[in-house]
Symmetry: C2
Subunit: 457 residues, 2 copies
Amino acid sequence: MSHSAVFAVHALLPEGWARDVRLEVDDAGQLTRVEADAGPDGAQRLTGPVIPGVPNLHSHAFQRAMAGLGERASGAGDSFWTWREVMYRFLDRLTPEQVEAIAAQLYVEMLKAGYTAVGEFHYLHHDPEGRPYADPAEMSRRVVVAARASGIGITLLPVLYGYGGFGGQPAGAGQRRFLNTPGGLRDIAEAIRRDHAGNGQVAVGLAPHSLRAVTAETLGEALDGLDEAAPVHLHIAEQQKEVEDCIAWSGRRPVEWLTDHFEPDGRWCLVHATHITEDETRAIADSGAVAGLCPTTEANLGDGLFPAGDFLEQGGRFGIGSDSHISVSPIEELRWLEYGQRLRHLSRNLLVEQAENASVGASLIRGAFDGGAQALGRPIGRLAAGCRADLLVLDPENPSLFGRSGDALLDALIFAGNTNPVRDVMVGGRWVVEAGHHGDEDAIFARYKAAVSELTG
Amino acid sequence: MSHSAVFAVHALLPEGWARDVRLEVDDAGQLTRVEADAGPDGAQRLTGPVIPGVPNLHSHAFQRAMAGLGERASGAGDSFWTWREVMYRFLDRLTPEQVEAIAAQLYVEMLKAGYTAVGEFHYLHHDPEGRPYADPAEMSRRVVVAARASGIGITLLPVLYGYGGFGGQPAGAGQRRFLNTPGGLRDIAEAIRRDHAGNGQVAVGLAPHSLRAVTAETLGEALDGLDEAAPVHLHIAEQQKEVEDCIAWSGRRPVEWLTDHFEPDGRWCLVHATHITEDETRAIADSGAVAGLCPTTEANLGDGLFPAGDFLEQGGRFGIGSDSHISVSPIEELRWLEYGQRLRHLSRNLLVEQAENASVGASLIRGAFDGGAQALGRPIGRLAAGCRADLLVLDPENPSLFGRSGDALLDALIFAGNTNPVRDVMVGGRWVVEAGHHGDEDAIFARYKAAVSELTG
């Protein structure tokens, strides 16, 4: 197998910033050797500081096309639940071609913003009448095809959605495109694994939608047959009403119910987990599961603030997701993750070890690398041998980064300015964004525009 | 006087969105006629939807160069007050040339982001030893020169700063560059007015720094001599400690003290006003003063959330400012102004009239146009005859705006996406940004880089 190499004057390695770093990549897109204080001979010289690509652990791709459509007062108090109605109406129409077009555009935007891997929490399985497509994996295949076309790495998380409320309540008409059984999901997962066997850019996991959408029995059945390494993601405790409904049904809060009935561990990702008690915070931290935080969506939907300070103090792991894609920027997610805590506690520099001069920017982005990689179940988030060659070259001439280096560069990256500082993006050893442009962005945007025109016309 | 004209297929006028709008501009940069359903004959055709430029009512220009340097844990709890120490150390070195270079870069960034006018709350009057420069207006002149070089409109607000705490406490060494008397300020204001007499791009007001920095006597003296039309800005109730100190000194909260001793009216801008009671909220709304909100800085500094929902319900007026310039984007300010309220109230779509289908994006940006214009004391924020020809052409091919029009475009503008949708910017009838580029951006950035290298080298 042949190799290529790139050379960075400054690169962020797992042990910290290093100089004169040579990274060797094999044809399968994996880093085979990462050496600091090395020579550039024969390597491609990169033109700015290099950091790992950011994993985006939570995405509902099709929602990209409705970004901004829900920002209206209803005249009678507004909430997450009215937003969900807008989303359901949108869902009445989406075709597989449109979903592929929207996802491809979204993934190009993610790459340009610095996300190199996505966890696609995919619940749109069936046709608008709720009937399976001739190929039951049709929609899943479309999403993975979009990811392959864009170049982003993907962990497909096909969603188990069986019910309309806690305790196995019947699903509503708005949910008919989502409904699936553990067996149906297994077939989808198998089809995707078969399509992409041996491809380091594609992985498959499982996503029980939420405790509203499963029962202990169906969740147990879905987990039973699952590959040991497959990630398991679910929405939990996003809304206060959801917590109240769970208590009314079971006498337990959602995270309590989950830990009573299952044993979430390091392969689990609890998405949102906004409304949790101190005991639940500790239980998630102790479990080794990743908290999947989506600050821009959680703000847009009025969900609330995750107790991130307490969670990190207890050793909890987190990653970030762009979720509804109202925003598509790891910077905005991490910036406002920290700002949310500052506004909650009326203090500063919270999501960082309270040591003299500890960098908040470095702490946040390293958390997102590690937790995101764990949640997506792929060897990413680190510039180290054995990991995927997923990296970002930052623009040293970006006005917010100029004159900063080391962790001060990461502080500026996360907190300062509003122009995109990501210049070049490599995923799996392949340049997918160069000088801020994606090679196929025009064709992909043209298909997106056609889809949006059909949907909103 | 000769005229030129531009033509927009869609433009946001004071009465709402209009089609086929012809805008005529005189040589002084003022709109002389704005007509909807008009013809394009002889006019320059604009290539996207047109909205007014956004006023930025609160800026400390030099702080742009320290953006991102304060994001470190101190090891002993962190707060606004430790951030202020970083800022004071930075201040030990700044020269007039550096301030001009930093301000010019900042103003170019503002223009590219859609701000066409700035209120420069200017407190850096003296040399590093606290001595007036040979020309006492040296620093003020530099800031205005930077504004003129960039093309942005400016309301210079020279700062009255006499003391180090409530009740006339002596200033500390870190404040020696700021100290000035009402008479000294009058001389500065006079010098700037003389330099730019008849220039519609420059106005001058007054900024008592805060109630910590003035006494009733010095504030009264400064107001006595002031032009009737001159805006008056002050920081107030930004931090809880400030409120506590004010109560300890006077028995009254800051806004209470101000309304006891003075009569703030429509020419006043109360910047931050974060920590206010229901009575104070009503008092500000009733006064007609503008609340100067700076959501990104207020989040970065851990100040807290202004009670925007209550304030708007009572008819209060607000505008936005980028303040410390940790962010320079009207979109991020308005987006997180609304999101802050959603996170506070765990609900959605709050800063808008609660009527069926009312647009939050439209409500926010119209608030910022009107309140910002009022606070800056210049005829801006409206595409109407008699106002400055300050406008933005949005990019209809921006992925977040594509397919949206009318108020739905404003919802997408404020809430969706992370790439800059501002394509062209006209200020005072002159194109200063075209296709996302400012004509002098390279030379201005080169001078900025030299200044930053000196300051952080």
